[in-house]
Symmetry: C2
Subunit: 93 residues, 2 copies
Amino acid sequence: MSDLAAALDIIGARWGMLIVERLLEGPQRYGDLQRDLGVPTNILTTRLRELETAGVLHRLPLHHNTRAYALTERGLALREAITALGRWGAGEV
Amino acid sequence: MSDLAAALDIIGARWGMLIVERLLEGPQRYGDLQRDLGVPTNILTTRLRELETAGVLHRLPLHHNTRAYALTERGLALREAITALGRWGAGEV
DNA sequence: GCCCACACTTGCAAAATGCAAGTGTGGACG
DNA sequence: CGTCCACACTTGCATTTTGCAAGTGTGGGC
């Protein structure tokens, strides 16, 4: 499997990159991601778990049943790739 | 819709980026892409049509019923984003 | 005329996605 | 103490996408 395919295996699924993009702005709570991205709640749970398993993000507990999701170093390393894609999408390339 | 979402709408579907990555190496024929990527043949047809419609690639006829697919300028502009993702996938980031 | 490579198309099963409604937990409020 | 509410999910089911496998059509070579 090529390097690109390996990357897509981790963040290639629908919503994966959008979640990471949002987290690049700082830690977010579940509800924030849900409302801001409009991602279905069950999918969000699935993706967050996948991304956590892949070491892209981790949970940080806030209060009782409230937590935030923040990127790990590996997750933050996606910044370059994601901004490049974003600029392409904006037609500035 | 954010710029990233716009980009993913075009090349975010499964196999989309892998096809573009392959075409960055030069024009390829249908059979080449099929064998090299291992993508199902019906999906390949669908993706190529979508990418052509989106202006990422175009067909160039070779012989009778043989043609090659080549990136347009817009498609070539994806190089930066795709190599960035590839490097991330390789763990070099 | 027969065969083959190439580029698809078609049919159907499996998996992913999405919507909507429900669950559980702990703090706030009275 | 009891009720209410926000938050983070979970569950059930319909829709859509993906994938496999087999078939179609076309033009050139022999």
